[in-house]
Symmetry: D2
Subunit: 352 residues, 4 copies
Amino acid sequence: MPSPIPVAILGATGSVGQRFISLLDNHPWFKVVALAASDRSVGQKYSQATRWILNEPMPDYAKDMIVVPATVEAAQAKIVFSALHNEIAKDLEPQFARAGMAVCSNASSYRRDEDVPLLLPEINADHIHLVTQQRKNKNYSGCIVTNPNCTSTGLTIALKALDDAFGVKKVFAVSLQALSGAGYPGVASLDIADNVIPNIKGEEEKVEWEPRKMLGKLDNGKIALADIQFSAHTTRVAVTDGHLVCASVELASHAQADVQTAEAILRDFSPVESARELPSSPRPVIQVREEADRPQPRLDRLTGNGMTTVVGRIRRDPILDLKFVVLSHNTIRGAAGGSIYNAELLVSENLL
Amino acid sequence: MPSPIPVAILGATGSVGQRFISLLDNHPWFKVVALAASDRSVGQKYSQATRWILNEPMPDYAKDMIVVPATVEAAQAKIVFSALHNEIAKDLEPQFARAGMAVCSNASSYRRDEDVPLLLPEINADHIHLVTQQRKNKNYSGCIVTNPNCTSTGLTIALKALDDAFGVKKVFAVSLQALSGAGYPGVASLDIADNVIPNIKGEEEKVEWEPRKMLGKLDNGKIALADIQFSAHTTRVAVTDGHLVCASVELASHAQADVQTAEAILRDFSPVESARELPSSPRPVIQVREEADRPQPRLDRLTGNGMTTVVGRIRRDPILDLKFVVLSHNTIRGAAGGSIYNAELLVSENLL
Amino acid sequence: MPSPIPVAILGATGSVGQRFISLLDNHPWFKVVALAASDRSVGQKYSQATRWILNEPMPDYAKDMIVVPATVEAAQAKIVFSALHNEIAKDLEPQFARAGMAVCSNASSYRRDEDVPLLLPEINADHIHLVTQQRKNKNYSGCIVTNPNCTSTGLTIALKALDDAFGVKKVFAVSLQALSGAGYPGVASLDIADNVIPNIKGEEEKVEWEPRKMLGKLDNGKIALADIQFSAHTTRVAVTDGHLVCASVELASHAQADVQTAEAILRDFSPVESARELPSSPRPVIQVREEADRPQPRLDRLTGNGMTTVVGRIRRDPILDLKFVVLSHNTIRGAAGGSIYNAELLVSENLL
Amino acid sequence: MPSPIPVAILGATGSVGQRFISLLDNHPWFKVVALAASDRSVGQKYSQATRWILNEPMPDYAKDMIVVPATVEAAQAKIVFSALHNEIAKDLEPQFARAGMAVCSNASSYRRDEDVPLLLPEINADHIHLVTQQRKNKNYSGCIVTNPNCTSTGLTIALKALDDAFGVKKVFAVSLQALSGAGYPGVASLDIADNVIPNIKGEEEKVEWEPRKMLGKLDNGKIALADIQFSAHTTRVAVTDGHLVCASVELASHAQADVQTAEAILRDFSPVESARELPSSPRPVIQVREEADRPQPRLDRLTGNGMTTVVGRIRRDPILDLKFVVLSHNTIRGAAGGSIYNAELLVSENLL
């Protein structure tokens, strides 16, 4: 049994930071050695600095750790998980990469960079090899690896299965997103009580672009964006965790995409071998529910420990080809769990 | 001042029945003379028979009325408002029409009949003349007039404005519907707490068909269904009142449908004259909100006393032409208020 | 018809400020001439400066008013309604009182001052005469008049009726308070979704003290605190508006306080004449509900336009004498509506 | 390793039945051999017969079990867990006891019987010996053992610690109870959305009586009810799981009950040895939270896998001696988990 790999968490007191701390409790490969946060928290015990908002109790290992500043000196580790706000991530993440650390980031700052992998290992584990290019381009001894926006996550995984089988051409997607996606304090209770907020700033642009990179082909060190058109509406609903997306898709092979075939394709979807047996690999990658009213956030978000993508209501679309509903846990598969899965892939591919 | 027209309410104890009672309090033309409900309630005072679920207090006039059976003999009136369940409405409504009463129904039983008007007076007041045909066909001295499904309502009103101006070809619609749409007791609290239900039985079929009849042309005593393709996903969210729909539309005149023009078209939409000055006429018919995050159910559902359709977030759609969000109060404009508006049109058109 | 009295609102953009603006729309005596708020908002139109959070639409009169600073010079009026935070109120309110304005304040800063009336006109209208003393003591040409904490409000009104009839000795009170009581943004949605917060900072002290002043006797220019013991637990629940209190009371005249007598006493409670016919006088002051499960916030908070105190579940207490449940609309009777009612009393008592 | 003890679940499809199924997954001593429910479900696979409402997925073992009728013949086992409605439990449970099975019941039907133990093993494990008496009296070869009402559960555990140390004399208790306590479908969403229901039928009587039996002394085969006065208000709030109780208590040893001592007494409370090392024994029995705003249902209900009683806000009461807030998971410690813990005690005491 090898010694555990030291990891740090940047932005450890926020809602995604808390999820990192929870998911890394008893991780078989990683050991948390530093919790970094803003000046307000530095020097305090983690349990004092943090307003814990997860249902699960705070893990014991974190309680007495002293919060350190988010600097290269203070947060030394092999892998750094970033739950930083985008503007701060933009400044800090390259410093860690330059200092030799592998930054697995949940921030959006570098997702669009040509040499930064935007990863869902189930579907595009090969994109991780962009880091070789990245190291050359930017003179990093470490690297930056990103996971997508939480709403893109489940949708893109489902689309990958359909794209492999039938070719996806167009996608309409309307999201009903959970409160935890907005961080803490995030949405004011008076804004969402007995209400829906029909917009999430900056989200639609991400959902219309990120899947195209993830479904694109890596060729000669570059990713060709997938030739798929997206139209997204994003909304916020009064749910704690779990993003639901209603999707309608047009496929290249119209004729073959009957509902039964599509269900089978989704149910049987299997990741490439390199992503299949990692500690955080979803089991199954996609679960297909057959009930008329599933998936539902409260009942299905913890499927496969929150790493599984749950799909239901697959049916013919009167305009395009297929309609379905997809659910993904936004702070597990769609945030902290995704970053950890990416880190595991880096380790297993010897890219640390 | 003419003497008021006597009206009855069938299904008076349910959630839509309650809304009828509330909206008919102090109506300038109508006087409620009979409240009919199922055997369980017959013979009791209305205030005893009913579990009142509206925010507004029960009107005084209703409290001591004795609930009568939903029969032609017991519920004598010129106009009968039906908040009956569909199977019961199917049996009972023709009996009232045969007995000379004008049935203004919120049930779906007869919406698809060729000679039954499916009315939103703002947009298709002329369809009311189907009742002449209906009386001949069915030997009614009264008639049956229907209002659409609550989710179709706001969407179709917005589409009418766009259709007149640009020609609507295709519509994607995803609804986030309120709890009151399911009646009482309706949705169990454990099913919707911290949750979304991504299906409403039978609803998508209605949303994909009803607008085509309402947007159709009346010609020679028949309605030609509008040649528009619809794809609908319907979901239930934890909101008391107010159905929200995210819509993407393809238009015939792509080029002209820029956002500013579309906003102006929607804002300036005016009903035909016959529907404009009735007591329940919405003022305005459509309100366009310019904020980035409106309409919202809690804040906007009572616009124009719950009769106005509120539209916001009008923007380009990357696949079709326009995207927008539309909100309508489901038990006012989308149910009881709509039926009352229909009844007013019958009166003003001398069709009682 | 006399010309309207000019009034100003301090803290006009916040949640209580919004309620002032809504309730003063079409007020028969008062005309809003100034809306004051913090620097962030000054110079903007009210409709642009404000994130409106009430169900009712923003009144037209306010939309284009330009927000002014909360200074004596900028917010000139006869009456000034204060929805300021306590620390700011502490500084600013005396300036307005010195400048000759009558400050009707919802802040807690001066509630405990010996010469400042803490008013619920239904029950202690005579306490308003403290302002004569106050003017002498503090050299004010105007004055400061306060209304109590929103949770104390309904409870104290119900207690007054019981105290007059039976003498109240001890009170246990547990509140279930609405979100709007915490202002905006106030409570984070992640803190209250699927949750209760079993504490509200500083609230229990207020509920244990304020009723004693309001139920005290004014004698010789001083108020003798009522000799009643209070024990309070205060909690926050996921309700938009309406504070509910479960109360158990011990009475001096144990024997007479049977449930029927107490119900009658509460139902028939009538304010002193000076408080009875003002524009905001609650009608009725107390409504007694006889159903087993009322009052409820959503169904009963708007009783008497939100000014009525609603009491239900009056029953024997196994330890003390009586138990009951009391509901009051926290931002109407318990805040802005209460301040306006106080201002009306000042006018009718010629104390401006 | 001994072979597992066969157990059956009566009322297996309801909300408490589901919790039994979930908690018995991988139980170290018990193996579920029969799932019984009403005629509607009999003959179907459990996964088809049940509308699953728990957050945790349905355990695999249950999915394909065929639901049997709730008869002695069909539901053969050593231990029978009863999640039956009270009226049905009243009839059926004695049949199972007569047939030699140990009925561990969550129903209230027999809680008040003199020879039926009402058990919280942490605090009154010795009461289990009533079954010897019961077998004689009723000629049972099996027995009936009950757990208390979910609201009494946490409160009584906290009171036991205080009673041992200081002697409890009087208790005021106001509950804020979760939706799952009402079963499924239970509370209608329209009744609780944006609302509180200030009454739960029959609940206050239970909370005012059951703790007296559990805190009573077993002497000579009989329990002397504890001489403590209770006053309870019970309310329903929009929370999925977790009952919160605000309590004020009078103690015999006033002087000694300072806050620090009381906290220590609660924190250090330890069950009698026989209840300490069972599979479901709570660890810790009581957790004391020191934050100003805990316990909270969403954050604390799963403490100790939902078996721990969480107490916070211990402070002086201005009328009695101490105030505090107590939280208990109503369907785990307060229902299914409690019954299982009772069954484990029966086994370890050799009373099967």
